[in-house]
Symmetry: C2
Subunit: 392 residues, 2 copies
Amino acid sequence: MTINSNYNNLNKSYLFSTIAKKVKEYAGANPEKKIIRLGIGDVTLPLAPAIVDAMHRAVSEMGDATTFRGYGDEQGYLFLRQALCGYYSKKSVKLHEDEIFISDGAKSDIGNILDIFSKENTVLIPDPVYPVYVDTNIMDGRDIIYMNGNEQNNFLPLPDKNISADIIYLCSPNNPTGAVYTKEQLQLWVDYALENDAVILFDSAYEVFVQDKELPTSIYQINGAKECAIEFGSLSKTAGFTGTRCGYAIVPQELKRGGVPLRELWLRRQTTKFNGVSYIVQRGAEAVFTEAGQQQISSNIGYYKQNAKHITDTLSALGIWYTGGQNSPYIWLKCPDGMSSWEFFDYLLNNANIVGTPGAGFGANGEGFFRLSAFGSCENVHEAMKMLKRSV
Amino acid sequence: MTINSNYNNLNKSYLFSTIAKKVKEYAGANPEKKIIRLGIGDVTLPLAPAIVDAMHRAVSEMGDATTFRGYGDEQGYLFLRQALCGYYSKKSVKLHEDEIFISDGAKSDIGNILDIFSKENTVLIPDPVYPVYVDTNIMDGRDIIYMNGNEQNNFLPLPDKNISADIIYLCSPNNPTGAVYTKEQLQLWVDYALENDAVILFDSAYEVFVQDKELPTSIYQINGAKECAIEFGSLSKTAGFTGTRCGYAIVPQELKRGGVPLRELWLRRQTTKFNGVSYIVQRGAEAVFTEAGQQQISSNIGYYKQNAKHITDTLSALGIWYTGGQNSPYIWLKCPDGMSSWEFFDYLLNNANIVGTPGAGFGANGEGFFRLSAFGSCENVHEAMKMLKRSV
């Protein structure tokens, strides 16, 4: 018996558990201080009434013999996949229900999708990056090439024709940087992928925060993307589902490699290793896409956007370089006075009682940068910004 | 870009989709016939009131700012893991909460657990078998050795000292055969695993159907099992959660391979590729283990057991060989008149309008056998048995 030895190559400690430990220590030593968490990207507003009502109805159905539901449809209930088709059609993206796979969240899908690809593929990952992209590939033993995001390219790296890669990770609006690719920039990526027979794994978890009408909210708004991209969506940030759990993957019918439709491989993977999402949750997710649901969540998103604006206004006033915040719930700032990411983490915790996320935790290029999230309460964000002004 | 070529080695068609196709064709040609489904193992009774109440409360909490929950605890909420510790203590099994990982179902865990093991390991799988054990290993390219279940050993194969294996699948009460290992038999398996440095993956999804007090309902009731076994539990059949989705994996602290605690590897796998189960569902699952919940689900289980008894009584009266049914919701019978599994499937569908599951779909040794499930309504089971008597 041998274990998967690739696990030995993983970094021992997960970013957020290190943060949690430091915060716990500080809180233990300073019980009188109010700590404001602008770190981990968890939402704070409750589920919208339309969602709550739909889930109450679904729970009641499950308790009644005449409306009880057992195993659901393989790819998720048709009512939800149709609702998503409707949502995408408003983005001018035409999808077929068969191309949509409902899941318990984008994190699961982004990890599990690798099952259908050979371990021999080379992976292209931006740095800084959401650690899950890296760790899941290390677990499989794939070669990883990093592409540099930095102040010069506004943390939006573009394809390099001298590099050959098979699997490409893109996240826009980006976690952690909040930067958003334009259509022209994404077109360069799609063209590169098509030329290299590569597949783009496009993480659109933050698309609902895009307010600039010119910016893309789906990779399928780009010509040729259906032949080279899988898109991962999530209701976690869109509708406050971090604790309710629902996401989806889109694998277009046109997307084939080695003559095999990837949709068929993913269907086989999911029907073998997954049994679908709770009926109750799928009904809640369906409600997100009703007129009432859309109105209610957009009011929640507006609330977080106000927070983001208050943070970016404060940073501008302080003369601190940042990206994101405009079309994203994340603000990515340059640590003042040449501080390293973890130095600024400690400084902020000790002097302003603010918890943020050190950029270095997202890769080498994150060193010297710092992520703030707009998901706190308005009061807390205002208090935090007051403290920040005083202490920087 | 190359796909995972192991997928080419999978059987093209999944057992239950073939059945669905045949049934659809028959129903299309015979619209006046009432077809009774005793095939796929899906439950039919609604969720118990205690579970429904708990989920209503949880939905309301999620809609209220003061009680809303975002991301949950890494391994699942402590309240549910503590409830499971309590459930296991009644089986005389002492677990620590850290050893329990809540998931969306045993199928996910059984598939995903393979991530932590090397592809070089040899796998020992009973035949007949739940197809997921086989397919998930084919997807990884592992060598599989089959062990024969047959009429002679009552479909309960025992270890063969001449065979060396690293990963061993056991399911008791068994799907598809309904056969249940005794403590003495499981002890032989645990001893074998310890001697071979192997790990047993123990699927206990049907443990709640065991009524014989002498039979084990957890592998951890066997001496030494904590050093060599991972147990997978499910609320699908226990509490009607096939559409609600909740299960758990138990990875004991004592279980190490190559000096590494497997619990740590699984924690790393799950925190990287999974984000937990809906809070609402976890509250429903917690209610299963309350006094009211236990009483209510045992009444449901009793209902299915009555069905199983009616099926086995009928088979006995007809002189048809079978196993299972006593401590299991599945009855595994020998097709009469030397019919093959699929011949009997067609015969039963055409002559008695009963849908069952051909044993051949579970492996070579299943040929000539057939699975019936006790999850139908009492009325349907009685009607089906009347039809069976008439047509065999």
